[in-house]
């Protein structure tokens, strides 16, 4: 096996950003006819390394060989010329153009949509993609957009395919479909590199795993000969336990009662349709669903950020008295103890200010306290120090702008601040999106601690396996409707998958 010529050979590659070494002296091989999983914690340099292959960054040091020849990749165009194509985590598509137009965008030669369409159809037939070349991007679902991205790199003749967290936005069914396609490409003797944080995907899909830690190459293993435990230990550099606790709820009481809630978006589309449920104290209510089917609107409606058409949201006190949340402003609701830690797709878009440092971000919650016209910086300073210490936030200092922190650390800062106010209700969405396995488990632990402290947790998640391990009950949303509420301890994966695509889950 080792005497094959690698499709790509990275030799002694280093890349620095300012004083930070994103990659140092990485040696790695990528082979044809093989799916390689690239593993590593957040900030371990996986994406940077792949960006150097796809011509977005240029290495400070080291050499790259393609099929045994030394090459220079100074731009994405060079990468395409060498047959290297990358599907990024954030899609790079022009919304108002069609799939075919996006695919040929930036290519030399005369614009010939007809021919392009024919070629796109051929690629789709070969690998089993479902793409309508004439469909506009803004009409597409996330998984369709991703398909367009993959077809785009294949259209340009990519032989070496890099996918950066491709399954983060897909349903289980869509993920399976993608994997089938990737396996077909592998049979076609293409080299495939996939970056993912989900262990079961690594195990079911890849042939080989390569591990990066803090920018350094740790080693590689044949997937069949290893297991999740070992891979995680290698990533983190010490032993990690991979069990999510699920303590039994203690004395649960109704805390948030949602009745007949209907929400319309600004352009009149129904986002939530007649939603009914109750969230209880000391309990984690998981919310499952394909992305964009009402999760965001639901949380924002509870937090007072989303105008509601009809229905009621009641906040219930321990003694059974209740107050209507609809019509209250976000600040009032927050003061009542309802805390929203919403992690949007761009992570910094809401809840944190990227250009501000940790102290100033802590201040977002407390700056209005007191009657002085000046802000109090002392309390947020202490809080920032505490959060950094208790949650092991990796940061050069508390006066570093949060946008410089890696994803996991940004998340810890956000969650740390939210739970510092001792909320009664904790709303979290995609709390572990893009986080590596170690950081994810830290976050699960934090959430469990809140649950044990009697907080009613509403946890919007993406990874079904996690939802099923963590939640006491799971509410499945489908197109803005409640498709069903199931017990987390007895839930069946396939059943939830069906409920996500069809209300009630029946055929």
């Amino acid at each position: 096996m080792k005497d094959r010529i690698p499709a790509v050979k990275l030799q002694n590659i280093s890349k620095h950003f300012g004083p930070v070494a994103a990659n140092s002296h990485v040696n790695m091989d990528i082979f044809r006819g093989e799916i390689l999983s690239l593993l590593g914690e957040n900030g371990s340099g996986k994406t940077t390394l792949m960006n150097m292959l796809s011509g977005i960054y240029y290495p400070d040091e080291g050499e790259i060989f393609v099929d045994g020849n030394p090459v220079t990749i100074a731009s994405p165009r060079d990468a395409f010329d060498l047959g290297i194509g990358m599907v990024h985590q954030h899609f790079k598509l022009v919304d108002v153009l069609t799939a075919a137009e996006n695919i040929v965008l930036g290519l030399d030669g005369k614009l010939d949509i007809k021919n392009a369409t024919k070629k796109i159809r051929e690629i789709c037939d070969k690998y089993g993609f479902e793409v309508d070349p004439a469909q506009k991007i803004y009409d597409m679902s996330v998984s369709q957009k991703q398909t367009v991205e993959i077809v785009k790199v294949l259209y340009r003749g990519a032989e070496i395919l890099i996918l950066d967290e491709p399954t983060a936005v897909l349903t289980p069914q869509e993920t399976e479909k993608l994997f089938a396609v990737l396996r077909k490409m592998k049979e076609d003797n293409k080299a495939i590199v996939i970056i993912t944080h989900k262990m079961h995907e690594v195990e079911s899909l890849s042939d080989r795993v390569a591990v990066l830690r803090k920018g350094e190459y740790i080693g590689d293993m044949i997937t069949k000969e290893t297991n999740a435990e070992e891979m995680t230990n290698m990533m983190v550099g010490r032993k990690v336990s991979l069990n999510i606790k699920r303590p039994d709820p203690v004395n649960p009481k109704d805390r948030i009662r949602v009745r007949d809630l209907t929400v319309r978006s600004e352009d009149g589309v129904i986002k939530l349709d007649n939603i009914n449920f109750t969230a209880r104290s000391g309990e984690i209510l998981g919310i499952a669903g394909i992305s964009g089917c009402g999760q965001k609107e639901l949380l924002e409606a509870i937090a007072g950020l989303q105008p509601v058409e009809t229905g009621s949201i009641e906040y219930v006190e321990d003694d059974g008295s209740y107050e209507q949340l609809i019509g209250k402003d976000p600040k009032k609701i927050r003061d009542m103890g309802v805390s929203l830690s919403f992690v949007p797709e761009d992570r910094l878009g809401m809840g944190l200010v990227g250009n501000m440092d940790l102290v100033e971000n802590m201040m977002l919650r407390s700056f209005e306290n007191g009657s002085s016209p000046f802000t109090d910086r002392k309390a947020p300073y202490e809080l920032a120090k505490n959060v950094v210490e208790e949650l092991d936030v990796v940061t050069p200092g508390i006066s570093t702008p949060v946008r410089r922190l890696s994803g996991g650390n940004v998340q810890k800062v956000l969650v740390g601040r939210e739970i510092a106010s001792a909320p009664k209700v904790l709303l979290t969405a995609y709390a572990v999106r893009g986080l590596d396995i170690n950081s994810s488990y830290t976050i699960y632990d934090l959430i469990n601690k809140q649950k044990e402290a009697g907080v009613a947790v509403i946890f919007v998640g993406e990874d079904l396996d996690v939802l099923m391990e963590l939640s006491d009950r799971i509410l499945v949303l489908c197109g803005g409707k409640v498709s069903g509420i199931v017990d987390g301890r007895t839930a069946d994966r396939a059943q939830i998958g069906l409920m996500m695509t069809r209300v009630g889950g029946s055929k």
Binding site: Y58, V66, G349, L364, F367, F374
Partner: protein
Amino acid sequence: MMKTKKHEPLLHIVKRDSMSYKKAVLIRIAAIVAALVLCAIITMVVTGQNPISVYGTMGIGAFGTARKTWVTFQNVSILLLISLALTPAFKMRFWNIGGEGQVLMGGLAAAAVMLKLGDKIPNPLLIALMTLAAILAGGIWSVIPALFKAKWNTNETLSTLMMNYIATQLVAFFTVLWEMPKGSGKIGIINQNTNAGWLPNIGGEFIGSKYLLTIIVAALITAAMFIYLAFSKHGYEIAVVGESVNTARYVGIKVEKVIIRTVFLSGAICGIVGLLLVGGINHTLTTTMAGGQGFTAVMVSWLAKFNPIIMIFASLLIVFLSRGAGEVATNFSLNQSFSDILTGIILFFIIGCEFFIRYKITFRRGGHKK
């Protein structure tokens, strides 16, 4: 598929992560030196003059006599005040380029009070009313676009710009209405005999007393603005709204309220400038009173990265250049355009060096690094 090794590109542009304060200052100084050297070469080649004496003349133009120095500082104060006025709005990412119009409206309101109530009420009350009128007029002039922005998200750059022209036309209208003497097409010195409504000369009978008030007002507002932006709750809200409207809403900041409040403040300070120009410096009202400083201030505010303290030096630089360049033009009997060229070159270098502070250029391996 087979490829031969291509040449590595000659240089890469790499974004810097951060740069030490000292190094950034050094780069800026280097830029100014480079600009001066280039200006010297151009001066020599084009005019045959000795560049050193040209620079000397610039210095004399700005600081040659006590009076010149006072005027320079007065001009700096006015430009600084307008820059300070724009800054809170800019920090909120509200691009107020209507400083010109807001100054004019403040001046118009002050002039109206001076003309209509002068000698009818006690002077202190008159000045208080002028101040109030100027602040309100400037503030209201800026709040109109802010309201549209807050309610319907209209583009503030366009609307504040257009408000400038409306203000100019309004001032032109009142100039004709209040002209004296009749037929002159201008207002002339207001209350020339009684000096009613003229802002006081402070500090007694020395040469600078005429200019001191403006300078003191500028110093006070600079300090206040620095504290307001850096330490007050309002300043913090401005920064959050500027960075992310979503985050601001999420933590319960009333975004519309902050926009209107901040932009009113912006216009109000412009109004004060109008008051100083009409009541303290010119004692008359003209359509060209603001003299384009509403736009120059945009550059000053940006050059200083919205920091009120650095803004002092930025406005000093701009005023020095324009006063010095004027002196050069008359002394060496050069065309006024020549001094504009020098000013242009210096500004180009100062603004251009920001590129080197933000990015690093790495040359091909084996080459040297910059």
